[in-house]
């Protein structure tokens, strides 16, 4: 059943996260030595995404490697990243995608911390047809397998049917063919200095007809008596750089997205494993580091031993989603994780002190210190209760008063360009995990206090009594609590109320092949948690998703989400945004893919009857619908003609269904996307092509219809030299747009090289030109040249 659960997550997945609907058709396997393209089809929410990163690691990696996804063509909703055969090195990988949103949120999908299961990518060679003719000969007691590991596998029964040159041996996912003695009937592998543990071996071979065969997995337990070094050191040192040259410095905007600046970064990732303990260190130095801005450089050292974690430097703790999560702290983090109780503590600098500069590119900010913690009682795999807290405090002493205070020349009022704040958040949570039902239920309730200006210090007890009727009952002096939190008049709220609360509840279950995820919650308008990414305040949210699979062939997922604001009922109108989607994929004959997706969203508002004058609001009801149909195939054995091809058609409508004074609109969109890849048998040339053509018709009642289109085309060719040590590439990309800003075109030529001249050393470099032409305004035409370089040494 566990496998079924994995399959649901691994093979096909639709993600519904913060308004993003993404489709990822997981390739599951790859052919050793060949590159793998992982792509994401963003069905909705593209405009909220800053960038997408693939995070992936093999069993040998201490930490996740990262690689950015790029739009397949500029503006495309198809993002892709290519992992080279050298990089994959025949290993098995698990991976997830990290979405960096424009509002600063970082979202992982799938998220292991929230019970998600990562995608997996395995070497295709190990996924061939099982052949029982592979016989393990070293299973006799005569083979003690102590202090040495000997594996002998016979394939005598396949003699004449397989090519002995195609026989490969994989041990623990690593290709060790070169270390094995391979004959026409058998292979023998010997490791005289093995580490103690269980070794899993798989033998693969190609039949004369090109069919991939694999042996059963042969497991051997090896013991050692020698006192060898059990320390395992691994990591990488890297250097990345980008340099740009523009032909029109006058047009050049150094901070514009279109005109990135020169930059470089260098770093070190290192991990030392000893038994079940691990020490990791990460260092990143970037040319973009500016002491008057928030840090880009990263320093981190961490220690993980069973039940104890300790991290110093830059770390993003996940104490709780409503209290502290997803934000970097430069300081200390520790976690004691016992069976029946646990304690987490984090403290350090969350915001660096910065000063505004003359050009306005820097802003003034206090140094903000954050401290957070969590105490858990109960079993993590059973019932557990938790208490969480976080406090963020702007240190007034970190800035000179002149930097943030000035006075109105007329009224002499004190004005703050930026005010120091105090924020306190407390929450309680409960979680029930029922393993035999594969179900997890959880809920969290949080309340916050925010003092928007602590400059004035704590309020006096007498003044507080004027504001809070029941203050006499509480009977405390606010100044005595100032060390913990500065109670003052600019507090939000001054007295506790439901508006300063937030709550969420969730259910995750795997029932009859259905992976069900239900979330519900609300956030009050005065709830503030500075140690989390931005909260959608004054809203109620609800979402439900389900993913279902039938064997390895049919997958379907669907979901519904609703976000409704005006939770406090204080606004004239209430906005409701709801979406639902349905996606399915069908694999036929192992090579043919059919996919379909439907997406619908509805946004509307309604009057708040509790407020007078509510009828003054401007009603709207917008609907957006899109249907995507696709067909494709992927047959790795085909040469010359494309071994992979996909075509998808998308049609959609965007309309206002309510009669309004300014007229209705009814827009339609249609696009067709075509991609293919081919390889040549005789010479190692690979060609990939992606083409998308989209048309858009905008119709307003009062204006004649406007048509626009855009065309994206990318052609990429790679040629493998010296057994994959050097892979030069040539890319041509064009994007042509038409619309109310006239005809525009972007043309790109990129020459690149992927090189692995020595073991564990990889180099990637690209030299590209970009040419922009604007038919309406030729003064905006630009040319630019980009050179990027990436150098990595693993150890």
């Amino acid at each position: 059943m566990k496998h079924v659960f994995s399959l649901v997550c691994l093979l096909f997945c639709g993600a519904l996260l913060s308004g993003i609907v993404a489709l990822h058709d997981a390739p599951l396997s790859y052919t050793e030595g060949e590159n793998v393209v992982l792509s994401l089809d963003i069905q909705d929410g593209l405009d909220t995404i800053q960038n997408i990163t693939l995070c992936y690691k093999s069993s040998d990696d201490a930490d996740f490697r990262r690689s950015g996804l790029e739009p397949q063509t500029p503006g495309s909703n198809l993002y892709a990243v290519e992992l080279t055969g050298r990089e994959l090195d025949g290993k098995d990988f698990s991976y997830y995608f990290e979405y960096a949103l424009k509002d600063g949120q970082l979202i992982k999908y799938p998220n292991e911390e929230q019970g998600g299961q990562l995608y997996e990518l395995r070497d295709q060679a190990q996924t061939g047809k099982l052949a029982e003719e592979f016989i393990l000969l070293t299973d006799d007691p005569d083979f003690p397998q102590q202090d040495s590991y000997i594996l002998a596998v016979s394939y005598l029964g396949l003699a004449g049917r397989i090519d002995p040159a195609s026989v490969k041996l994989w041990i623990n996912g690593k290709d060790v063919t070169s270390k094995a003695k391979i004959t026409e009937n058998a292979l023998v592998y010997r490791n005289d200095r093995p580490k103690a543990g269980t070794y899993k071996a798989v033998v693969t071979a190609l039949t004369n007809k090109g069919e991939n065969l694999k042996s059963p997995t042969f497991e051997t337990k090896v013991t050692t008596t020698k006192q060898g070094s059990a320390i395992d050191l691994g990591g990488q040192v890297y250097f990345l750089s980008n340099f740009y040259k523009h032909n029109q410095p006058g047009v050049y905007d150094p901070y514009g997205y279109e005109f990135p600046r020169d930059g470089y970064a260098t770093g070190l990732d290192m991990a030392v494993k000893y038994g079940r303990s691990q020490i990791s260190a990460n260092l990143l130095l970037s040319s973009r580091e500016n002491k008057n801005r928030q840090p880009v450089d990263r320093y981190h050292i961490g220690l993980e031993i069973p039940s104890i974690s300790f991290h110093a430097g830059d770390y993003a703790p996940s104490i709780s989603p409503l209290v502290m999560s997803g934000k970097n702290i430069r300081g200390l983090y520790g976690k004691l994780n016992g069976q029946y109780m646990g304690l987490e503590l984090a403290c350090g600098e969350m915001v660096r002190k910065t000063l505004k500069n003359a050009s306005g590119t820097n802003i003034t900010a206090f140094r903000q210190e954050a401290i957070g913690g969590r105490f858990r009682l109960g079993l993590e795999n059973g019932l557990s209760l938790g208490v969480n807290f976080a406090r963020n405090r702007d240190l007034i002493s970190s800035l000179d008063p002149e930097d943030f205070i000035h006075y109105d020349p007329v009224t002499a009022d004190t004005l703050f360009s930026v005010a120091p704040q105090d924020n306190l958040v407390l929450s309680v949570d409960a979680r029930i995990n029922i393993p035999w039902l594969r179900t997890t239920l959880g809920a969290e309730f949080a309340g916050s206090l925010l003092n928007r200006n602590t400059w004035y210090g704590p309020i006096s007890a007498a003044d507080l009594g004027n504001y809070i009727e029941d203050y006499g009952v509480l009977d405390f002096e606010p100044a005595e609590l100032a060390e913990m939190f500065v109670i003052g008049r600019p507090m939000e709220p001054l007295s506790p109320s439901k508006n300063a609360c937030a709550a969420q509840a969730y259910l995750r279950a795997n029932i009859l092949n259905n992976l069900i995820n239900v979330n519900a919650g609300f956030t009050g308008p005065a709830f503030n948690a500075l140690s989390t990414s931005s909260q959608l305040r004054d809203t109620q949210t609800f979402s439900v998703t389900d993913m279902f699979n039938l064997g390895r062939s049919f997958f379907i997922s669907g979901g519904y989400s609703q976000v409704r604001d005006n939770y406090s009922k204080t606004a004239l109108q209430t906005d409701t945004y709801s979406t639902w989607h349905l996606q399915s994929s069908l694999r036929l004959l192992k090579i043919l893919n059919l996919k379909a997706a439907y997406f619908s969203s509805n946004a509307k508002n309604e009057a708040n009857p509790e407020l007078a004058g509510a009828d003054d609001y401007l009603p709207y009801q917008r609907n957006s619908r899109a249907l995507t149909l696709g067909i494709g195939y992927n047959a790795a054995n085909i040469d010359y003609i494309p071994y992979q091809a996909d075509i998808s058609y998308r049609v959609g409508k965007d309309s206002n269904d309510l009669e309004t004074s300014y007229g209705n609109y009814d827009n339609s969109l249609s696009s067709i996307t075509f991609s293919l890849a081919s390889k040549m048998k005789k010479f190692p040339l690979r060609v990939q092509m992606a083409l998308s053509i989209a048309g858009h018709e905008a119709r307003l009642e009062t204006i004649d219809p406007e048509n626009s289109y855009n065309l994206n085309l990318q052609i990429k060719g790679t040629y493998t030299l010296f057994a994959g040590k050097f892979v030069p590439r040539l890319v041509y990309r064009t994007q042509r747009l038409s619309g109310d800003q006239g005809k525009q075109a972007y043309n790109y030529w990129i020459m690149g090289l992927e090189a692995n001249p020595w073991r564990n050393v990889s180099l990637s470099t690209d030299l590209g030109t970009r040419n922009y032409t604007n038919a309406e305004n030729t003064s905006l035409n630009t040319n630019s040249l980009t050179w990027s370089l990436s150098l990595t040494q693993k150890f």
């Binding site: 016989i135 393990l136 000969l137 070293t138 006799d140 005569d142 083979f143 000997i150 002998a152 016979s154 005598l156 029964g157 003699a159 003695k181 004959t183 026409e184 009937n185 058998a186 023998v188 010997r190």
Partner: protein
């Protein structure tokens, strides 16, 4: 001329049938010599054995090997000489080792290909059994079947005798055949040690030497 051509064709056919590597060395102790094409070659656990390889064990030595079809395991006791031979055909791997002298233990699983052990005076054939076959200096042949059933054939008379588990068959160099129940005295010490491995006695005591005031060594015994 025709005969020569036929002989050449037959030789070519035989060479195709004869498998390259046929077995794997799965255990070794003491001095064991591997002769390949008349020359001694080094061997160790995990070495692959070719068709036609010859193995010779010295005093207090043994060698264990396993055929590549995984269906037959052999153990050569001390002072034994064996020549490996096998043919890989449609019926599977046909195993035809020749025992010149010494003692050979064989465990044959039911599977592809028959097992036939050739000696100067007898032939032992089986499809599934465990047995011990011994050849002395006079080329007398002794077959002890431990499990299953084997057939002992006199190559001169072509007469076959079925021998079952618990029975011992003797065929001496004069052609005299005898079959009886197996006796304990039929096994040599190395054979008994292998077939009935004794568990090593577990220590349940410890004697700690101490020196008393007079300089005498005394022992304090701990037992559990």
């Amino acid at each position: 001329m025709k005969k020569i051509l036929w002989l050449i064709l037959l030789a070519i056919g035989a060479s195709f049938l004869a498998a390259g590597q046929v077995a794997l060395v799965s255990g070794i102790d003491g001095k064991v010599t591997l002769l390949r094409a008349g020359s001694s070659v080094p061997m160790e656990i995990g070495s692959l054995l070719d068709n036609g390889d010859e193995l010779q064990t010295s005093t207090e030595a043994f060698a264990a090997l396993k055929f590549l079809d995984g269906q037959a395991s052999l153990r050569l006791f001390e002072k034994t000489y064996l020549r490996l031979s096998a043919e890989n055909g449609k019926g599977g791997l046909k195993k035809l080792p020749s025992l010149s002298w010494g003692s050979l233990y064989a465990r044959i699983e039911k599977g592809s290909g028959n097992f036939t052990c050739l000696t100067k005076n007898c032939t032992v054939t089986t499809s599934k059994s465990t047995f011990l076959v011994k050849v002395n200096d006079l080329s007398d042949c002794t077959l002890i079947v431990l499990s299953g059933k084997a057939e002992l054939t006199d190559p001169e008379t072509k007469q076959a005798h079925s021998v079952e588990a618990g029975q011992t068959a003797l065929l001496d160099h004069t052609g005299t055949f005898l079959k009886r129940d197996t006796r304990a005295t039929d096994f040599s010490k190395p054979e008994r040690d292998f077939l009935n491995p004794q568990k090593k006695p577990v220590s349940t005591g410890l004697a700690v030497p101490l020196t008393d005031a007079q300089g005498h060594i005394r022992y304090v015994e701990f037992s559990w």
